[in-house]
């Protein structure tokens, strides 16, 4: 089964609104990352948050991490049509001994102009 699961699977909002996506995972992690994917091809790294961090910001992006609940959220503020994409969380499993990231199933975001 997937280490990370995003919620919701799909989200449709109006331009200017905020979009919130959630990620839950099962085992203890070192880091958690969020990626964006356009058109089903290469992914773009958005932000990395370490297990000892609770919140990080990057431009219009805000990521939170709650290790007690094994969950993270990605907030995109003042969304734009160009934010339309799939968003994935990825976690590296602390006990695995290797730095491989396991990706969730993604949230498909559609921002309507």
């Amino acid at each position: 089964s997937q280490q990370g699961e995003e919620d919701p699977q799909a989200l449709s909002i109006q331009e200017g609104e905020n979009a919130t996506m959630n990620c839950s995972y099962k085992t203890s992690i070192n880091n958690l990352q969020w990626y964006r994917q356009n058109s089903g091809r290469g992914l773009v790294h958005l932000i990395l948050i370490r297990s000892n961090e609770r919140e990080k910001h990057s431009g219009r992006l805000r990521v939170t991490l709650d290790t007690s609940k094994k969950s993270s959220s990605l907030l995109i503020t003042a969304s734009r049509a160009a934010d339309t994409a799939s968003y994935f969380c990825a976690t590296d499993i602390r006990a695995s001994g290797t730095y491989k990231y396991i990706f969730g199933t993604g949230t498909r975001l559609k921002v309507l102009a």
Partner: protein
Amino acid sequence: GAGVSQSPSNKVTEKGKDVELRCDPISGHTALYWYRQSLGQGLEFLIYFQGNSAPDKSGLPSDRFSAERTGGSVSTLTIQRTQQEDSAVYLCASSTTGRGGYTFGSGTRLTVV
């Protein structure tokens, strides 16, 4: 190069044929990953190379799949006796150490007919 380069970008092959997919990572990146993504799905980890260490092959779905990384740089993913269920986008990513963000290539879309 400036980014991760994958070739070919698209490959159509007949069932039972062997295929080779190539990944040229960012110069100096010691970590290299292969993932597979079926239509509308998340990323499935296949294999991870880190420097001169033995690769983590735990994600390879069957013994028809193999990968090598020559000289710590270019990697080739080989699928022998392709099956229709092998149809997917194969994504390669590289990272400086494996602990940070990945840079993904644009992927190879493999279609087995």
